[in-house]
């Protein structure tokens, strides 16, 4: 990987390049990573490094400006006065063009895209042309969003089309043929192609773009969205660069290869030690690996550093929900709502809070609001499904889950929810289809296997052999709730295979001992094992189990006593046959 100093310089340039072209989110991302790079301790006094973590963002910004060697201009300085900053990008010095560009850029910044495009219509400077194309694209997108609402027909919203795509495609492809295309054009070209549905070409174009200009994170994200399988990901021909690692880590996470993704991020953390982005991504991976404790720690730290962050906070709220932290969740909801209440994440967090409070109607309302803000918001669909299940409105739940699944067919939670809903309606066989889907996507989740096993076990189906197979899988993948072993033992017992039952009871017992858990399962296991050993004439073992049973109060104690008596009698009979 490149040295930290190179990274820093490159990213600084990149922020400038990107924001000159109105690629704001990419520029924001680059700036975030820039801040994430650890300072060189040799160049700074300890007092500086002490503020590295937990310091306010103002202080950090101050320090960076302070330490910059090449005299990075502060935000207010126009790039025109510092031509040295233009660096690698070829730039049109014609002053008249430049004025046009400035006006266009200002319109662009005020989100008056058509106006910006109009001002820039006859410009030939690359930046101006790019800005025009991009402004046109955004204008089309904006109109598309509006039309989507306007054109809602009797059969639902039809997909409105960005009307600028055709002309943009023509223009960009001509540019490409002329060889005058630069990586930013390629990015917009890729966007256009992707929206038009020619995915293969879009993938090639975007690859070209990121290979020649790797710091445009938006291009990487678009590329990632086009790689839905591991094969397509591997077939990309990408230059080695640290940005590629960011990309791969993200792509792995989306392909549910969480461990691979995690290791990539940890590697990147070597350079970008303090990147909030990487931390949030690590949290995401950990969340998917169900390491809730760690996720919580990470998010607490993130919020300390970046208190107004809303991205990814819905995940944090899920963790808090799972851990039933009422006050923390309410605090988070409050904070996020004050920051920006019209973000889907904010609504989702509030929905989660109400759900935890058991107020499912309100919860559904907030999920609905989240979906209004972003109708492809997967989490909200799934969570809303859960709420409907709680409210016993199964058909609404089925609908919500199905929408989630149609947005992303890899959402195992929604498949699981569908299965659950149908099982609730007394259709276990029908539900099996959905459970199968979900275990296929997430084969290492014991809960899914257990749900499927319970489905097989229902009295309507009564397919015990299949249930046993499922429980076995569940037991093999770290069954946290420890249901599988006990169930396995019970099922084997039901089928009259006492040897197997004894085996599983024993394993269950060992596990309970290891985790220091007590409860009815313990008693059940001990009782069975005692009886089993007695019938098998393994009296010593039986005696051990019986003595352990004596520790409990209640009927078990009496039973244990009588068992012990029986064992002694049988022993006597054995030793001194009559």
């Amino acid at each position: 990987m490149a040295s930290k100093e190179t990274c820093r310089t490159e990213l600084r340039y990149a922020v400038r390049h990107l924001s000159d072209r109105g690629l704001y989110s990419a520029s924001r991302w680059a700036a975030e990573q820039l801040m994430g790079i650890e300072q060189d301790p040799s160049k700074h006094t300890p007092s500086h490094t002490r503020f590295q973590r937990g310091s306010s963002s103002i202080r950090r910004r101050f320090r960076t400006a302070d330490s910059s060697t090449s005299g990075t201009p502060s935000a207010g300085v126009s790039y025109v006065t510092t031509p040295s900053m233009i660096g690698v990008e070829d730039y049109d010095y014609d002053p008249i063009d430049n004025d046009f560009y400035l006006l266009g850029k200002s319109y662009f910044d005020c989100r008056e895209y058509r106006r910006a495009a109009h001002v820039l219509r006859d410009q030939t400077g690359k930046k101006a042309v790019f800005l025009r194309c991009y402004a046109l694209y955004l204008a089309g997108e904006k109109r598309k969003e509006e039309e989507m609402i306007e054109l809602e027909g009797p059969l639902g919203k039809s997909d409105a089309v960005n009307k600028e795509l055709g002309s943009l495609e023509r223009e960009l492809s001509t540019l490409r043929k002329n060889g005058t295309i630069d990586p930013f054009f390629l990015y917009v070209y890729g966007l256009v192609l992707k929206e038009k549905g020619s995915e293969n070409l879009a993938r090639a174009i975007l690859t070209e773009s990121v290979n020649s200009y790797p710091w445009n994170w938006s291009a990487w994200s678009e590329l990632q969205a086009l790689c839905t399988t591991i094969e397509s990901l591997n077939s990309l021909n990408l230059n080695n660069h640290y940005m590629k690692d960011f990309f791969l880590a993200n792509a792995y996470a989306e392909l549910r290869m969480h461990n691979e993704s995690l290791s990539k991020y940890e590697y990147l953390q070597g350079t970008f030690t303090f990147s909030n982005y990487i931390q949030a991504q690590i949290a995401k991976a950990q969340y998917n690996l169900r390491e809730f404790e760690q996720v919580e720690v990470i998010f607490e730290e993130l919020l300390r550093n970046d208190p107004y962050r809303i991205e990814d906070m819905d995940m944090y709220s899920n963790v808090l929900y799972a851990k039933e932290c009422f006050s923390a969740l309410s605090y988070l909801a409050h904070r996020v709502f004050l920051t920006d209440k019209y973000r889907p994440e904010s609504c989702c967090i509030v929905g989660n809070y109400y759900s935890l409070k058991g107020q499912h109607e309100k919860s559904v309302m907030y999920f609905r609001r989240a979906l209004k803000l972003n109708k492809n918001y997967l989490t909200a669909w799934t969570l809303m499904g859960h709420e409907y299940v709680e409210m016993k409105n199964t058909s609404a739940a089925v609908d919500a889950y199905r929408r989630a699944v149609d947005i992303n067919p890899c959402d195992y939670r929604a498949w699981y929810g569908l299965g659950q809903a149908y099982e609730m309606m007394g259709m276990p066989f029908y539900a099996l289809h959905y459970f199968k889907k979900s275990v296929f996507l997430q084969p290492n989740d014991s809960r899914l296997w257990i749900a499927m096993a319970q489905c097989y076990e229902t009295e309507q189906l009564h397919m015990l052999e299949e249930a046993i197979k499922c429980y076995k899988r569940a037991a093999n993948c770290n069954d946290r709730e420890a249901i599988a072993l006990n169930q396995l033992a019970k099922l084997h017992l039901k089928l009259g295979r006492s040897e197997e039952a004894a085996l599983y009871y024993q394993r269950d017992l060992e596990r309970m001992e290891a985790e220091e858990r007590e409860g009815p399962n313990m008693v059940e296991a001990l009782m069975f094992l005692a009886r089993h050993c007695q019938t098998k004439k393994r009296f010593d073992e039986a005696e051990v189990y019986c003595t352990r049973l004596l520790d409990y109060t209640g009927p078990e104690k009496e039973t244990a006593k009588s068992l012990l008596r029986g064992i002694r009698y049988e022993r006597d009979v054995e030793h001194f046959p009559p």
Partner: protein, 815 residues
């Protein structure tokens, strides 16, 4: 009219095409004109335009509205001398709509042509559009839609009209424009004149733009020449290079058929009305069922994909996809789409269709009965509060049938059992009735002994009957029960189907008491003319035949049956204890077809109207010209006549056809070959269009076999050749079976034992290796094998003897 489906006014959206129709309506009924208004020279010309407009509002061909080009092309077919004038007028009026205010004025004018509600005040000389006529309703809906339209909507409409005209002009020959300068014909000349300059300007601008566009388009993407740009873009996927070719192949394979147009090309960017799209979809569903695997999979799939893009809430699309994959034996696709359809169907149940499918033809009756929905499970408005309950049972029922179709009897039974349980739980008796029939069907197909082994002891619907009854009795009891249930819920089609099923069941019970009692042609009263004709012809023949079948002849036939095996078999052939007699069989058949009488009046009028209109418009395009309006066109051939939609719902026709098939089988069983032949003939002539391909193939193969027995092999082979051409596309079909049987008979007859043996082997290979599937075929193969061995005098060999026995008995016992 269409009020049943489209309840909310939003469901009717104004599109440029509808504006065009409105313009034509204005021409048709101009305000304050004499009885034959200005541009028309005769009343018939005037009426023709009326019918054309009517058809345009109802046609259910394809999912997209036609472009202006296509409309103009159709218009020129009916216009005759008025052709140019109409085209001019249309394009001129359309392009004069340049600002929102023009639209307002246009609709105010349109309001003027509607007559008042009190028709008796009407002046005789004046043409007023009756507001309650079909065209009047359409006009009113357009007015309503316009009045409810927000300003954004008007903006969209204007833009759309612009592109609509522009697309047309790019390829439209300049004749329209040249006529533009000739305003003498125009009744509203003064009005039009004011707009003249502006119009020309628009034309110029439009053509300029277009030039530019096409210039650019040709360089880059010749794929989108003009029109329907948005759509060709939508479908232009990564693999666009391969798909058009595929589509092309599909459509060429189908080019003779009538639907190539609707599928192959994208007509425009606007969907037809909800009702028209639904009509199209149900027509396609019928077509899928009829054509089976020869239906173009990919082309239809891409149409559906487009439809789904435009109307994401039209969940019926998923069902059509399910049917499509089902008939192309795409198990994962069918499963996926079935689940998706039923997951979604809960929220928008109002207009969902329903169909289920199964391998044998009885269930097809059930399927189409439900599909056409007059008594479909979901058509019955459920009591308030539980409006979505019906679908889960239906989902299970469908899934069960699907498993049955794919040859998973175990899963099928599992699912159907669950369906029974769930419908009991929600007390959905209709579904229960259907499910029970489905189960009995499954039994009769697979053999109940095998079934009870699959089921085990617990939890199945007829467990209460206990084991005291024999397997066949159980089936019979099950059928009786479902019959009672169906009768009590007035599911007429189902009752008819069950009667048929019982008849078939009785047929399988071979009791040789031959009493010829009932010949039933009572029900023909409702059938259309052609069927009448054939029926009369047939009954004339019948009267001759009846005398010809004395009991003595039957005895001979019996011996023949023993030696020759019945040509056709339904269900398992085990000999039975239950005694039923032929009168019962025919009573059942009669009951079944008798019930069909009641459908004469309650058929789903709307779909048929749509189909009529489609057919009418299609005829416009025929090179021979309009069939309907050419007088004295008596020599139309029968096939064309049959292609015209009849007023009887397809499912009922199918059911009726099926009753003929059963009848044929029964006559065959009772030994009257001529009657069997006749029934098959009736089926092949009258019902071939409404039946599925495999049923038709069955009838043909039967006729061929008859020929072989009575007219010699030569004729049979000639007939076979014809049939093979007709049913070319169906793999593993009845025809292939018939061919092999025929060849085998022939070989045996001539003593070519080796060849016979080979043919037997071929026959055996046809059947699937899975146990419990294709029993009929397996039985057939074993029996033929046995006969070959017998003919070779090898029965003395113990090895062969036992083999033969085993071969025959095994499939019958289902194991």
């Amino acid at each position: 009219m269409a009020t049943g489906i489209s309840k909310s006014p939003v469901s009717f959206t104004l599109t440029p095409h509808k504006i065009s129709i409105c313009i034509l309506v204005q021409v048709y009924a101009p305000p304050s004109q004499n009885s034959t208004p200005f541009p028309f020279s005769s009343v018939s010309q005037h009426n023709r335009l009326g019918i054309f407009i009517l058809s345009l509002t109802k046609v259910s061909e394809g999912i997209f509205e036609p472009t202006l080009d296509e409309l103009i092309a159709q218009l020129s077919e009916i216009g005759g001398l008025l052709n140019h004038w109409l085209n001019d007028h249309l394009t001129r009026r359309l392009s004069s709509l340049a600002s929102p205010d023009d639209l307002f004025n246009f609709f105010t004018d349109l309001r003027g042509i509607l007559g008042g509600s009190d028709s008796n005040v009407m002046d005789d000389d004046q043409i007023m559009l009756d507001p309650n006529s079909n065209i009047g309703m359409f006009t009113r809906r357009c007015l309503l839609a316009f009045n409810q339209m927000p300003f954004e909507g008007i903006c969209h409409l204007l833009t759309n009209i612009g592109t609509y005209c522009k697309d047309a002009l790019s390829s439209y020959p300049p004749c329209g424009i040249s006529h533009l300068d000739d305003p003498t014909d125009d009744p509203n000349a003064s009005l039009e004149f004011e707009n003249m300059e502006m119009e020309n300007f628009i034309y110029e601008k439009a053509s300029d733009d277009d030039d530019e566009e096409s210039r650019m388009g040709i360089g880059r993407i010749p794929f989108h020449g003009h029109g329907s740009k948005a759509f060709s873009e939508l479908i232009e996927d990564g693999d666009s290079s391969s798909r058009p070719r595929l589509e092309h192949m599909d459509t060429t394979a189908l080019s003779s058929s009538d639907m190539s147009k609707g599928i192959g090309s994208v007509n425009g960017t606007f969907l037809h009305t909800n009702w028209q799209v639904q009509g199209y979809l149900s027509e396609q569903a019928n077509a899928i069922e009829k054509l089976g695997s020869s239906f173009p999979l990919n082309a239809f799939e891409s149409t559906l994909r487009k439809l789904q893009k435009l109307a994401p809430d039209l969940h019926r699309v998923h069902f059509l996809r399910y049917l499509n994959s089902l008939y192309h034996d795409d198990y994962p696709g069918a499963l996926e789409n079935l689940h998706r359809y039923f997951d979604y169907s809960g929220v928008t149940m109002a207009c969902s269709i329903f169909s289920i499918w199964s391998k044998n033809e009885l269930m097809k009756q059930v399927a189409s009965a439900i599909f056409h929905g007059t008594e479909g499970l979901e058509y019955v408005p459920p009591p308030s509060g539980c409006s979505t309950l019906g679908r889960y049972e239906s989902a299970l029922l469908c899934l069960g049938m699907m498993h049955f179709h794919f040859g998973h009897p175990k899963q099928a039974l599992e699912v159907l059992t669950e369906a029974v349980r769930v419908s009991q739980q929600y007390s959905d008796d209709t579904c229960l009735a259907y499910t029970l029939v489905a189960i009995s069907n499954l039994y009769s197909e697979i053999g109940i002994s095998k079934m009870s082994r699959i089921i085990g002891s617990s939890s199945w619907p007829v467990a209460g009957m206990g084991t005291s009854l024999s397997a066949q009795q159980q089936l019979f009891v099950l059928l009786q029960r479902s019959l009672k249930r169906a009768e009590s819920y007035k599911l007429k089609r189902l009752v008819a189907s069950i009667h048929l099923e019982i008849a078939k069941y009785d047929l399988t019970v071979r009791v040789f008491l031959f009493v010829l009692v009932q010949i039933v042609f009572v029900f023909i009263s409702w059938v259309t003319g052609a069927i009448y004709l054939v029926a009369i012809l047939v009954s004339a023949r019948l009267s001759g035949v009846r005398a010809f079948v004395p009991q003595a002849a039957f005895v001979i036939q019996i011996s023949e049956i023993h030696v020759q095996r019945p040509l056709l078999s339904f269900g398992p052939k085990a000999s039975l204890k239950l005694r039923t007699c032929p009168p019962n069989v025919h009573k059942e058949i009669w009951l079944s077809s008798h019930l069909i009488n009641e459908f004469g009046d309650e058929s789903s009028v709307m779909t048929i109207e749509g189909a009529f209109c489609t057919a009418w418009l299609k005829n416009l395009k025929n090179p021979t010209g309009s069939l309907i309006f050419t007088e004295g066109n008596e020599n139309r051939n029968v096939f064309q006549f049959c292609a015209q939609p009849s007023s009887v719902p397809g499912s009922v026709l199918q059911l009726l056809g099926s009753s003929y098939l059963v009848r044929a089988a029964s006559w065959e069983m009772y030994g009257s070959a001529p009657l069997a032949r006749m029934n098959a003939l009736v089926y092949a002539t009258c019902f071939a269009d409404s039946s599925s391909l495999s049923d038709a193939a069955l009838a043909y193969s039967k006729l061929i076999q008859h020929l072989a027995v009575y007219k010699g092999y030569k004729e049979a082979f000639a007939a076979l050749k014809i049939a093979e051409e007709k049913f070319l596309c169906v793999s593993k079909s009845r025809i292939l079976l018939a061919k092999l049987q025929l060849l085998h008979e022939c070989a045996l007859h001539r003593g070519h034992l080796k060849l016979a043996q080979q043919l037997c082997d071929k026959l055996g290979v046809l059947a699937s290796p899975v146990t419990g599937v294709d029993l009929e075929l397996k039985t057939e193969a074993s029996l033929r094998n046995a006969r070959t061995l017998l003919a070779a005098n090898q029965y003395s060999q113990p090895l062969y003897g036992s083999d033969v026995l085993k071969m025959v008995v095994q499939p019958l016992c289902g194991g």
